[in-house]
């Protein structure tokens, strides 16, 4: 598909604004292949926004993103995504198998239905997350941990090279957490690249190869042992970036109240 040495994810000067208020400033980064990357930062630091704007769910106001050297649209098939669990309605009339099969939809052509092979892949993915006995279960009857496993199985069914996971450990039990991290490590060992939004500093150090410290801008990005230091974490979490957020505030007010060109 693309050259062996191409970079899974390259971001250049990515700026994102919600309702004209910037939430992410000029993020640059290059993620090498075969790494398990944690995205760390306080609430409202723009962690979810970052991965959403990489995938084009939130339009960036400037900057660009390349997935294996191409635009996201071109390489969407090579990307797997686990959204936040709360982002969907768990009373939706589908069962576990239906959800995991959605992971195959990117590979099935237009007008086509998932076939036997897709079902086999989906079933194998359910087995990997120990959810095979629940295949026919309606999704509203699942616990939080089980829901998260189903989402992970769907991402596995995508058979991608680059994965984005938005808070996969939020509100799950310890057993699910360790099952998930095991699967993620295994994917990493098979050369896949994974970006995980995470908010537990205590486990971040042991889970990830690389860390991106984020607080409205990139504070630091690099191998965990170099980035996970008191100074750098302090810089990420300690003290709001007062000037930056003030300017953002003023700009929002200006653009809505007073026309800029006067």
């Amino acid at each position: 598909m693309s050259p062996e040495n191409s970079i899974p994810l390259e971001i250049h000067d990515l700026t994102v604004a919600y309702h004209k208020k910037p939430v992410l400033y000029g993020v640059d980064m290059e993620v090498p292949a075969g790494k398990l990357v944690g995205i760390i930062g306080p609430n409202g630091a723009g962690k979810s926004t970052l991965i959403k704007s990489i995938m084009g769910l939130v339009p960036p106001s400037s900057g660009w993103v390349k997935i294996f050297g191409e635009t996201y649209r071109k390489n969407a098939k090579r990307v797997g995504y686990v959204p936040q669990r709360e982002s969907v309605d768990w009373d939706f009339p589908v069962n576990v198998m239906d959800v995991v099969l959605m992971g195959r939809f990117g590979h099935i052509g237009l007008f086509k239905r998932p076939g036997r092979k897709d079902r086999e892949i989906a079933m194998a993915c359910l087995e990997k997350v120990h959810m095979a006995p629940y295949a026919k279960r309606q999704i509203s009857n699942l616990s939080g941990g089980q829901q998260q496993r189903v989402f992970l199985a769907r991402a596995l069914a995508q058979e991608s090279d680059l994965y984005f996971l938005d808070e996969p450990f939020a509100g799950v039990d310890a057993a699910t957490e360790s099952a998930i991290i095991e699967i993620l490590t295994e994917l990493r060992d098979r050369g896949k690249t994974l970006l995980v939004v995470h908010h537990d500093l205590t486990t971040a150090k042991s889970y990830f190869d690389m860390l991106l410290l984020l607080n409205m801008r990139k504070v630091n990005f690099g191998p965990t042992e170099k980035v996970y230091t008191y100074d750098k974490l302090q810089k990420t979490y300690g003290g709001r970036l007062t000037i930056l957020s003030e300017i953002a505030e003023t700009r929002t007010k200006q653009s809505s109240d007073i026309p800029l060109e006067k």
Binding site: L57, P93, V94
Partner: protein, 482 residues
């Protein structure tokens, strides 16, 4: 908020239709009682009248179309959007009429579609550019557009020229008044909607369930959203003539929610929903015919709501009555198990030397008055868990005693075993104090399945005594009979 709109819009309606047409309506209602229902039934279903044929075909088509689209509207939580859209088309209908000064279906179709789409765009625009939330934006557009429509309509009513006959049918619908062009438009829209939903089922499914994910796999989620909105607008507009503006959204929502109560798979929901839609449509057309051209819409919606009520009450999964039965059944079983447990505990006090248990003892153990105890005992007798020996004359003995049958004894042991295993589990594994575990075990004993019990046994290393030092009836006891 909704009822508020509901109220005023009916006043407006009464203002401009009932006043000119009041006598006609009264006459028609009088006819309803004179009609031979059997005869009308035969005439309706033999399809002799062309207008009946049109009405039936239109109802079946609309039922399918609204049922399919409605299912997606409901699971996408856009129910209010259907209502907004249908009310927003009114000014379009009025302007379409003004354009040609006749009830030209094409002009009205175009006018209504444009008005509906403008309405949805305005909702979207208000809610994205201000901090007004979507529900308020929909309420605004719904009432605002509807009011504009009513104003133009009232003006049309006072115009000296133009063929105004049948214009009032847009309010509450009249399936029997459909023209050939109306029917063709309904057929075309239904065919297009059905085909698109079949072809893009997986796209509609994934964009409805998880919009962000659908986008992430390169699916144009926004396109499918607007496609659905467009189909919705078209179907609302073609349904106007048959169902009427005021209630067309019910044909989208009611059959779909009925189906949602009955199934948890999307494809089944689509099928059920269109079946309910068809059924409601035909019943509406029939009752309207029976009453000599009474408005169709309300009857369709009454039929659809009737189906919903039946599903709500009797539906297997969420039905109130089956749930009530299940609950009553469970309560009864718990009572029986508690009585059996009481018998066990009474016998345990005599080291199982006494086999028979008197009603007084049982009442004391269960803390129930004698009358209640007798009722509980009757339940045991009915289940053949216990017997009460009779004397030679076939009467109960003076001082009657209750003896458990083998199956009764087995169940008594099982329930005591569950109780004591659970108490032990709580103290051993969950570190509860021994005097804190009884109440919890009282509830859990009835719900522990065989599998869980086996697991508890293994975890607790096949225990013999409970935390209070009482023996846990073993599997051997379970087989022991009286």
């Amino acid at each position: 908020m909704k009822t508020l709109h509901g109220n005023w819009k009916y006043f407006c309606w009464i203002g401009f239709v009932f006043v000119p047409g009041g006598d006609v309506f009264a006459a028609k209602i009088a006819e309803l009682s004179n009609t031979q229902i059997g005869e009308q039934l035969v005439r309706f279903f033999s399809l002799r009248d062309p207008s009946v044929r049109y009405a039936i075909i239109a109802s079946l088509l609309l039922g399918t179309c609204c049922g399919l689209l409605g299912s997606f509207i409901v699971v996408r939580k856009l129910a209010l959007m259907g209502d907004t859209l249908s009310h927003a088309v009114l000014p379009g209908v009025a302007l379409g009429f003004l354009w040609t000064m006749t009830k030209n279906p094409m002009a009205i179709f175009i006018g209504a579609t444009i008005a509906g789409l403008v309405g949805t765009v305005v909702v979207h625009w208000i809610h994205t550019t201000t901090h007004i939330k979507e529900d308020s934006a929909m309420g605004l557009v719904l009432s605002g557009f509807y009011a504009i429509g009513i104003c133009i309509f009232t003006m049309i009513q006072h115009l000296p020229t133009g063929n105004k006959a049948g214009l009032d049918k847009f309010m509450f619908g009249q399936a029997a008044a459909l023209s050939t062009i109306d029917l063709i438009m309904i057929a075309v829209i239904t065919t297009i909607s059905t085909l698109l939903i079949l072809l893009f089922y997986k796209e509609f499914l994934v964009t409805s369930f998880d919009y962000g994910f659908a986008n992430s796999i390169g699916m144009p989620a926004r396109f499918f959203h607007y496609l659905l909105m467009l189909l919705l607008a078209f179907s609302v507009v073609v349904a106007l003539q048959a169902v009427g503006i005021v209630l067309v959204s019910a044909m989208l929502i009611t059959p779909a929610t009925t189906a949602y109560l009955l199934t948890d798979r999307m494809h089944r929901m689509l099928i059920y929903s269109s079946l309910f839609g068809m059924l409601a449509g035909v019943s509406g057309a029939f009752f309207s015919y029976l009453g000599n051209s009474l408005p169709t819409g309300p009857f369709m919606v009454v039929a659809a709501s009737g189906l919903f009520t039946i599903a709500l009450l009797f539906g297997n999964r969420h039905g109130i009555i089956p749930r009530w039965f299940r609950h009553a059944d469970r309560t009864r079983r718990i009572q029986i198990e508690n009585t059996l447990k009481a018998v066990y505990q009474i016998r345990e006090r005599t080291q199982f030397k006494e086999d028979g248990v008197s009603l007084q003892q049982l009442g004391g153990q269960r803390n129930l008055p004698l009358v209640e105890t007798a009722k509980e005992v009757k339940k045991l007798l009915k289940e053949r868990y216990a017997t009460i020996p009779k004397d030679k004359g076939g009467h109960f003995q003076q001082n009657l005693k209750l003896y458990l049958t083998p199956s009764g004894w087995e169940n008594a042991c099982r329930i005591v075993r569950n109780h004591r295993l659970w108490e032990l589990y709580l103290t051993e594994s969950a570190h509860y104090q021994p005097d804190h575990v009884h109440d919890d075990a009282e509830e859990i004993e009835h719900v522990l399945g065989e599998e869980t019990v086996r697991q508890l046994e293994r975890n607790l290393n096949f225990p013999i005594f409970d935390p209070h030092g009482k023996p846990i009836p073993s599997i051997i006891d379970l087989g022991e009979s009286v």
